[in-house]
């Protein structure tokens, strides 16, 4: 795979780097871990294989051999060989194809999975690119022009033009239009009653200083009722911290392992993919649920993914 033109942030990611958080190594991985898994399922890879995470403007990629691929997550109107390459399907591109992305139709992060994957090596047990420390993925960084990343395998359908599966998966229900469901965070009780009310009733907007590490939100100023400074403690993707300026910060995939700001909310795991497909300027509401409800949601979600992953190879 050759990068003819890089996108603004293309990096290899996977299901995350587990087992090193005690050394301060963030979990990382796909922002939208659902889309990463789906891309791998579609091309018959293991669900924790590497995928290419792309933002818009997305890259222009050239493949000198025939490949079998799938695009999931955001729809950037992919094109190859003069044809639109739709999301969430299995696609074969003939040797010598150029894959490009024309415009942003929906979402913020698109994932490319290729059957057999890229010839990249795991660092500390993961393919994920640790952008801040510069390791993992492809040379520890986002893709650049003229990068040539070898593939582990090619396909042999003898395609003369893109072959697009008639069937497709339809993950839209996971990206529902409802509020972002959250649980009370470890320091929820540090909040003033007004702040607790505002969090449940007001709109919050994702600000421009938002990236793979976290989303800064703007909304009503949230006040604490206690003046304590806390000692740093463990955090996870989906942890919502209250910054000293009264604004919340939602930690995302590349978040640090620990933090010193009060953890006021924790996003339900099932709503992290939806959040990952939102970007600067978009607004949403929070809806507070209990941990038990959130566990039920996650179990239902996992069951759906298991049946989906079982159904795809039958196609």
């Amino acid at each position: 795979m050759e990068v003819i033109k890089p996108g603004i942030l293309d990096s290899f990611q996977d299901s995350g780097r587990h087992g090193y958080a005690h050394s301060g190594v963030s979990v990382g991985g796909c922002m939208d871990k659902l889309a990463g898994r789906l891309a791998n399922f579609l091309v018959g890879n293991s669900e924790s294989d590497a995928v290419l995470e792309m933002h818009f403007p997305a890259p222009v990629l050239y493949f000198n051999e025939e490949i079998e691929l799938a695009l999931t997550g955001a729809d950037f109107c992919a094109k190859a060989g003069g044809r639109v390459i739709p999301q969430n399907r299995r696609v074969v591109l003939p040797a010598g194809s150029t894959l490009s992305f024309e415009n942003k139709i929906w979402g913020h992060r698109c994932y490319l999975g290729i059957a057999g994957g890229w010839a990249i090596t795991k660092v500390l047990g993961s393919y994920s690119t640790h952008l801040k420390a510069g390791f993992g993925g492809w040379q520890g960084r986002r893709l650049k022009k003229k990068d040539y990343i070898p593939l582990n395998q090619y396909s042999h359908f003898g395609a003369k033009e893109p072959i697009i599966s008639k069937w497709f998966i339809y993950p839209d229900s996971f990206y529902h239009a409802g509020p972002i469901r959250v649980m009370a965070g470890m320091e929820w009780d540090w909040l003033s009653n007004n702040a607790k009310r505002d969090l449940q009733n007001c709109n919050f907007t994702i600000s421009k200083q938002s990236d793979r590490m976290g989303y800064h939100l703007t909304g009503p100023e949230l006040k604490k009722k206690v003046d304590d400074e806390m000692l740093s403690s463990g955090v996870l993707a989906g942890t919502v911290q209250l910054l000293p300026n009264g604004n919340p910060l939602i930690l995302m995939a590349d978040c640090q392992t620990t933090g010193g700001y009060p953890r006021i909310l924790q996003v339900a795991d099932v709503d992290l993919p939806k959040l990952a497909q939102m970007g600067a300027g978009e607004s949403f509401n929070f809806s507070l649920i209990g941990t038990e409800e959130s566990i039920d949601l996650l179990q239902t979600f996992n069951n759906q993914i298991v049946s989906l992953s079982g159904a795809i190879p039958l196609k």
Partner: protein
Amino acid sequence: MTSFRLVKYNEYSLLVTFPGLSLQHANIQVVLLEEFCSRYCQQWLFNQVPAYESLLLICNSPENVNQVIGEIKQFFQKETPLLSKFEVEEIIVPVCYDLSLGNDLEQMAAFHQIKIEKLITCHYQVVYHIYMLGFLPGFAYMGEVDKQIATPRKLFPVATRAGAVGIAGRQTGIYPVDSPGGWNIVGYTPLKMFDLRKPSPTLLKPGNAVRFIPIDLETYNAFIGNENGSN
């Protein structure tokens, strides 16, 4: 039996804390519990995040949370050995406090109304205990900083260079890579805090101690030259 508190952090994670214990004692419990979980709970865990007085345990499935809770309860029913049984290694970390490298000493001195020289001495004359690693790969949180120079975090994180030695409240720490950071910077170390070329990439480990040694700009530059030369 040690008194502890278990709270569900999310669908598949637990936060263990030790209410009523001194910071030092709580941190000993955290280090011991992390060691125990590494040995006996590994099959149910994705990650462990030991911190000052808390241990975040991330299970690999909501179904395995109860297994881990059971093991932890058993662990704390037994007498636990004290940290004094561990060999505490003291690691020497040279720091250049020279203003020309770009630090926050002038603002900090004004904030505390003390001389810069006094601030520097206050920082390096303490041998610090490493409580935890976090925030960035190999970032060690150490304490405790002398009350006279304890400084709150900046209101917004700013660009901070690898090697920067900072203070936040009564904590001191070293940035292992370039990163936005909210800590006030007192100086820079030429040592690498995170090096993937080494079998154990992190230089500092919880339970160990750090002694900062002041170095001048010339020595700092010589150190940096040597580090680059060895690459």
